[in-house]
Amino acid sequence: MLANISSSCIKGIEGFLVSVEVDIAAGLPTFTLVGLPEQEVKEAKDRVLAAIRNSGFDVPLKRITINLVPAEVKKSGTHFDLPIALGILSASDQLGQSAREKLKDIVFIGELGLNGKIHSCAGVLPMLISLKKAGRSKAVIPAGNLQESAFAGAEGFGAKDLKEVVQMLESQERFRAQECAEKEEEAESGLPKEDFCEVKGQALAKRALEIAAAGGHNVLLIGPPGTGKSMLAKRFAGILPPLTKAEALDIMQIYSVCRLLGKGKTVLRRPFRDPHHTISNIALIGGGQIPKPGEVSLAHNGVLFLDEFAEFSRGSLEVLREPLETFKVTISRAKDSFTFPAKFTLIAAMNPCPCGYHGSNVKTCNCTPLQINRYMSKISGPLLDRIDLTVNLNPVNYKDWQQKSEGETSARIRQRVIAAREIQKERFKNSSTTANAFMSVAEIKEFCPLPPGGGEVLELAMKKLGLSARSLDKILKTARTIADLSASRDIKKEHIIEVMQYRPLDRKGVSDI
């Protein structure tokens, strides 16, 4: 007897439909699984047979052949257990006529325990989303993944064990999706406890981070140890605008594949990823035998904070160039290529020299100019080109620190950021761009005209401060955000002048006196 059960599989972060074909024929009892299964799929044999037995059904003592269609694509994941088990039950005549009818238009996803319990598994959300696109919205999924069906807008049935699934199939009632209370938690609850008002001084850096949050710009903080680089970066998440539904869904798809989506948890805040500087290229960018998203994709729609930027290996810094330019990562294999979204805001922090104290007035630096040069040149030109705002931080000494006034609270800064984002939403309503930093060349042309007098400012900056011409686009994008923050319709001359403050590395070593 032959049975055909629908299931799904993940490729990159997208799902595709897989048919599980089960054939049971007379002969010596064997169990063959074909269709390029990975190790964990092959092991389904032992789980499935035990689960069938322990759920009170019979394991047919015949030749069992299972094929996963399309057979030329590698399949990974443990969620084929449930469709295989149902296929065996159906092919061995242990299901009734109505159950077999129902099987046809339901997709099954779930990992089985030896006792027949259904465990939650990775990647359910992206599978459901792509199934829905393909017109298959009815799905039986692990009870633990039920929340994900709500996000996907699919009709999900959360099953606890194999027996329950069979009962559901055998019952006379029509397939009914289980209601899942969509938790409308306050988005504010996801904000970090740390507040910007705790950081005294560093007005320039705070302003730069406000601009970065408002326009999605990348920031490089350079300063001696103890100047509050990490402190500022940690608080950055607290001034980011709230996630839109579409953005949250994008993030959750990636999280689902990486098993980071907790049971019933939703993503409420923008991700903040801070990998250690010993991270490998693959862990940062994504990849592996079966390509999985890396840190840059986990930071999608959020923040990637790289502390001790210059200590990262040259290789891992250079791989950042692609996602910073195209906002996605493409991993190519001989047979296939995988694309992961990676639209993040980069916050990088580094010391100005190997000893850390160059330019500090607290401790003298004992590095030679050559060492300092070498240290700074660890960050390559093309990478610096993708950073819009650079700030030199200086230590605040204790006396000043005591006197300095408390800064603004994160909540107030966030209000301004949200207002600026509203303007941008209106501006980009007909395009896929979400913030100023992600504008295309055509959009820069359209939305960032040089103000009267702006050309002269740039010319002066190039002539006197040694500003390079290739940073022009970035200056315009950043000026656009500064204009949005001050609710100005047009970019003004002063906005361009302010951007000059955030480009210290563009300047020549020897300045004209």
């Binding site: 001084g201 560093q202 007005a203 320039l204 302003r207 100005p352 160059h358 330019g359 100019p369 050559l370 040069n373 700030v391 030199n392 931080l393 200086n394 000043d400 300095k404 400012v457 002066l460 900056a461 006197k464 401060l465 500064i482 001050s486 002063e494 002048i497 302010e498 000059m500 403050q501 210290p504 300047r507 020549k508 070593g509 020897v510 300045s511 004209d512 006196i513």
Partner: protein, 373 residues
């Protein structure tokens, strides 16, 4: 006396090793008559006659044999440079008179050999805001009045000196610690080109491609002194290259002048010590011109001095002067200025930009300091 082509090649070979000890190289030349003759000797003869160790003589011959002198010539001509040989016309007279004159001098640009008003200006690479101001002021005044500024193209004081000369379209000579085929530090490449374009010169005694080794720099300091009529030390610690130049200038019988500095500033330790030991104190450019020998002083335009001219041209708005006052003598970050003035960052950024492009202030590592008062 014109030298034969063969002799020139032999001199280059000897020079490629002897820049470390030009005194005995000169002695060998005297003993054996010509460079070609020196190279014909074996190590034993050289060591016995020339009173150098056998080991050195062997090393010397090996090194001389290894250098492709013709390639040195070709490379130099290819970049538009030329090589001056000691004893030939064009070789600077003042350099021939020092204790260890270089046998060959690689030059890119134009080098005068006569009596010219040249002043060596040297100082630390880690220049303070005060040193920057003082150096810029003195260098600009001297350049405008027609003095040829001589320095070493290093970071800090040297770069400021050359920049000021180039900015005013004047001649300046840079004696570098590498071969002239290289530029160290690399960020001064444009400055080096500007020096040549303005009628100045990049000069070195080292082989064309010599790297910037530590031992090269103290040696080239004697050339800075050698090409100058007097030496001014802007800022320098007690143990610094600038003080080595001062010492060599004194050995060569030149006047050494020093710019006084704060007594607690490490960069002024050396200059203050020089003054204490009797060096003349520099308070403005006129002090330097006054100290120059009479034969070269003639024709210098001392009327166009800095202070008189620039004081009138600087006019600041109220907020600009307020910020300048806050910056004061030292350096301030934009954060300090925001805190002290109560202005918003965006506002201060605009004012500082105007001040910076009008060259009233200077920014390094995020700290602003004034260029002049």
């Amino acid at each position: 006396m014109p030298l034969s082509e063969q002799e020139k090649l032999a001199l280059l070979k000897i020079n490629s090793f002897s820049y470390l000890r030009a005194d005995w190289a000169n002695r060998l030349l005297e003993i054996f008559g010509s460079a070609e003759n020196v190279l014909k000797q074996d190590a034993k003869t050289l060591s016995e006659e020339g009173k150098i160790s056998l080991e050195t003589a062997q090393k010397f011959l090996k090194n001389a044999a290894a250098l492709d002198a013709q390639a040195e010539m070709d490379k130099t001509f290819k970049v538009g440079g030329h090589i001056l040989f000691k004893g030939e016309a064009g070789y600077p007279q003042s350099l021939a008179n020092i204790k260890e004159p270089p046998l060959a001098l690689y030059v890119r640009g134009k080098l005068d050999d006569g009596e010219v008003p040249s002043v060596g200006m040297v100082g630390t690479r880690k220049v303070t805001p005060y040193g920057r101001r003082a150096c810029a002021m003195l260098a600009e005044d001297l350049a405008r009045s027609g003095v040829i500024l001589v320095s070493g193209l290093a970071r800090g004081v040297d770069s400021i000196v050359h920049t000021q000369a180039v900015k005013n379209g004047k001649v300046t000579w840079a004696l570098v610690g590498t071969g002239i085929g290289r530029c160290y530090p690399a960020e001064n490449r444009e400055l080096a080109r500007a020096i040549i374009d303005n009628g100045g010169a990049i000069i070195s005694e080292l082989p064309f491609d010599a790297p910037p080794l530590a031992q090269h720099f103290p040696r080239r300091n004697r050339l800075i002194a050698g090409l100058s009529r007097l030496v001014v030390v802007i800022e320098g610690e007690c143990k610094s290259g600038a003080l080595i130049t001062a010492k060599m200038a004194l050995e060569q019988g030149l006047d050494v002048l020093a710019v006084p500095g704060p007594i607690d500033s490490p960069q002024s330790n050396g200059t203050n010590m020089l003054i204490k030991q009797g060096a003349a104190m520099v308070l403005d450019a006129r002090d330097i011109i006054d100290a120059m020998p009479l034969n070269v002083k003639f024709g210098l335009n001392t009327k166009k001095l800095y202070n008189e001219e620039t004081l009138q041209s600087d006019s600041f708005t109220e907020s600009e002067s307020a910020l300048l006052n806050l910056i004061g003598q030292g350096s301030k970050t934009i954060d300090d200025l925001a805190e002290e003035s109560g202005m918003a960052i965006s506002e201060i950024a605009g004012i500082l930009f105007n001040l910076e492009v009008s060259s009233a202030v200077h920014c390094s590592d995020g700290k602003y300091s004034r260029n002049r008062f």
